[in-house]
């Protein structure tokens, strides 16, 4: 095979991997939208908040250290050596569940049956609040996150692919990031687990019922409020996974909350209500933008992948206004 063709494959492959990373974020949006029709703007901030909490627990940070220092003058940054990764993940999950509970209690309960845009706005208020709270609790410096997720280029893959090139060409193998591969496996496991959960458990069936029709679900005795807490907890878990993956790459810091922007084109492409849509959408966006950046970018000066992702999504939307896998929009008068 010629190196040029191998480069092409490499780009596609890496595009797919980036796509998986976007899907991880998009999944959280889909879960909540499906169950409650809320476009949860706070999903990115939730990922940040989860990652901050995780790092805080891992390193044994004292929450609100700065505030305590400012008010009481007590200098307390750390309360000990931290805890093992598994325990910290469980601890973070407990925090996220508590958060889901509070969100339901304080916010959503009062906004049942409001228009989607009002609920969207409420999640913006939530995003603001969490943004401030996260910083106040854990400080705003960059924190390295290392819970043993493998990362770095894979040598094995490089060696394998080097053989593929024609004799004599100075091809040096394909690049693939181990972190991305891990993310892909995690995403696959996550999707399978979510489908199993929603197909075969009682809770999952209740969840699907709510997603189908709120009124009907209520009338057969499903508690909407419990379902919401569960959905937001699951979204919190997805946010934690996304936070770990993205945080391992760039360190945990405020900018982590901006990954939501990467998920938006994925979301409209795949459809707001479809879990497979989030994955397929992510893959299409990832490949599309990487190919565009590498093959069209140099012609027009580069940095086109941000808007190109949206253009790809837009083109798909013009054919299917509800996204690739979204529920068909039926219009009645």
């Amino acid at each position: 095979m010629s190196p040029d063709f191998l480069y092409f494959i490499e780009t596609v492959l890496n595009g797919l991997m980036s796509g998986v990373m976007y899907s991880l974020v998009a999944l959280g949006f889909v879960l909540i939208f499906k169950a409650s029709g809320i476009f949860n703007f706070a999903q990115g901030v939730m990922a940040l908040f989860a990652a901050l909490t995780l790092v805080g627990l891992l390193t044994g940070q004292v929450p609100f250290a700065h505030l305590i220092h400012a008010i009481f003058g007590v200098e307390a940054q750390h309360w000990g050596a931290g805890m093992p990764a598994l325990l910290a993940v469980i601890g973070t999950m407990v925090v996220m569940i508590a958060l889901a509970f509070l969100i339901e209690r304080i916010v959503l309960k009062h906004l049942v049956n409001q228009e989607p845009i009002i609920l969207f706005m409420a999640t913006i208020g939530l995003a603001y609040f969490l943004e401030g709270l996260g910083d106040l609790m854990w400080g705003s410096d960059v924190k390295a996150l290392d819970i043993g997720v493998p990362s770095g280029g894979s040598f094995w893959w490089e060696d394998v692919t080097r053989e593929w090139a024609a004799e004599g060409s100075d091809y040096f193998g394909m690049y693939i990031d181990k972190l991305d591969v891990t993310a892909a496996i995690v995403a696959a496991v996550l999707v399978v687990a979510l489908s199993v959960f929603s197909q075969y458990t009682r809770m999952g069936r209740a969840l699907r019922a709510v997603a189908d029709d709120h009124q009907a679900a209520l009338s057969v005795g499903i508690s909407l409020r419990t379902i919401w807490v569960i959905v937001w907890s699951i979204a919190g878990f997805v946010a934690l996974v996304a936070g770990i993956m993205w945080g391992s790459k760039s360190g945990v810091q405020f900018s982590l909350s901006l990954i939501a922007l990467k998920a938006l084109p994925v979301l409209i492409l795949g459809g707001f209500t479809s879990i497979p849509g989030a994955i397929v959408g992510g893959l299409i966006i990832g490949v599309g933008e990487k190919l565009a950046e590498l093959y069209i970018g140099p012609l027009v000066g580069g940095a086109i992948e941000n808007w190109f992702a949206y253009v790809v999504a837009l083109v798909f939307l013009l054919y299917r206004p509800q996204g690739l896998f979204g529920d068909k929009i039926i219009e009645r008068i």
């Binding site: 916010v107 845009i117 009002i118 913006i124 401030g132 709270l133 084109p265 949206y310 999504a313 837009l314």
Partner: protein, 358 residues
């Protein structure tokens, strides 16, 4: 007391249809306008101009434009930042290409340029709806900012890619550039906003506004009763972008004087304008102003209170500030999901009966 209707009789349809049908409300409104035009300019200083009043007016203008699109026509857009950039860059190119042109004309023409661009990006709305459309308009946002950042023609080939507004006079007084007196820029902004709010109010009360609202409430039904979706939606995009373009032009010329596209017109600005519209009240001219006031003035107020008065550390204050704004957004939505304007409307209802409720 304040809102007494007793003795306020209407003798013509014209009087019955006016914008402020209650006399006391009319008086209050005009008193407020007179104060804004004739009293404030004597007291304004640099701080009030650059950090309070001009930001409020410019953002009100942007919110007004977006409210026409989102609140009246029901098309959610997240392209505001990009459209403001079009207005700003149009203003810059007009100012540097035609140095003699009157600044007010520059501002209005920039709005016109933006309207054309807005119409082009409004076309997908014929097929895509709701949140799908909102995210699709982000394509406009990212693309426009990228264009202004990429092609040097837009920033006259300067090394930094920033644009700087040259000084322009209006009646012999500088209104752009660093030497402009606060009252002058304030009056220009106020005049523009007042005139276009007036036009906006009447536009939404008239035939075209009713068409927009019909589309918003149910587009298929509207189509059946004879509202052409193409014309209604595209005209809403045009008018909305026109307003937003003017806001962008004012943002650049009389407020900042120098901008860089990636930060000044980034995605945050798009979200911010949308927040203003929703918090203020969808489909309400007054709501645009209240929303802009809430999101522009509240943080400044909180900052002055926490840092200036209580002497807190700036970072803690700023974390609290954003938390309080977030909590207040949720609070207001719970109290009144239809925005601050609805809250005001309810207050008025109460005031009309006060002090003798049934």
């Amino acid at each position: 007391m304040l809102y007494r209707e007793a003795g306020d009789f209407k003798t013509s349809y014209r009087a019955d249809q006016q914008t402020f049908p209650i006399r006391s409300e009319r008086i209050l409104f005009w008193a407020f306008i007179v104060a804004a035009f004739a009293v404030v300019p004597f007291f304004i200083n640099d701080y009030w101009e650059k950090s309070v009043l001009i930001p409020f007016l410019v953002w009100s203008m942007a919110a007004l434009g977006l409210n026409i699109l989102v609140g009246y026509c029901g098309q959610v857009s997240l392209g505001t930042g990009g459209f403001m950039a079009v207005g700003a860059y149009a203003a810059y190119k007009l100012m540097t290409a035609f140095p003699e042109m009157n600044i007010l004309l520059v501002i209005v023409l920039s709005g016109g340029v933006t309207a054309v661009v807005g119409m082009a990006f409004g076309l997908p709305s014929l097929r895509i709806k709701g949140f799908y459309l909102a995210v699709a308009t982000l394509a406009a946002q990212f693309f426009l900012v990228w264009v202004f950042n990429k092609f040097p023609w837009f920033y006259n080939y300067s090394a930094s890619g920033q644009i700087t507004a040259p000084e322009r006079l209006l009646f012999g007084v500088p209104v752009t550039g660093p030497n402009s007196p606060p009252w002058a820029t304030y009056l220009v902004a106020l005049t523009v906003v007042f005139v276009f709010a007036w036009i906006g109010k009447n536009l939404t009360r008239g035939r075209i506004g009713r068409q927009w609202m019909a589309i918003r409430d149910m587009d298929i039904a509207a189509e059946i009763i004879g509202v052409e979706p193409l014309r209604a939606k595209i005209s809403a995009f045009a008018v909305s972008s026109f307003y937003i373009g003017i806001a962008g032009a004012m943002y650049f010329t009389i407020w900042f004087g120098a901008v860089e596209p990636t930060e000044a017109f980034g995605i945050n600005q798009s979200f911010r304008a949308l927040f203003m519209v929703i918090i203020g009240g969808l489909g309400s001219i007054l709501g645009s102003f209240l929303g802009a006031g809430f999101l522009v003035l509240l943080p400044v107020l909180l900052k002055n209170l926490m840092v200036g008065q209580l002497g807190w550390a700036t970072d803690i204050a700023s974390h609290f500030e954003i938390m309080i704004v977030g909590a207040l957004i949720i609070f207001f939505l719970i109290v009144e999901p239809h925005g601050l304007a609805q809250l005001w409307r309810l207050t008025k209802e109460k005031l009309r009966l006060w002090p003798f409720p049934h």
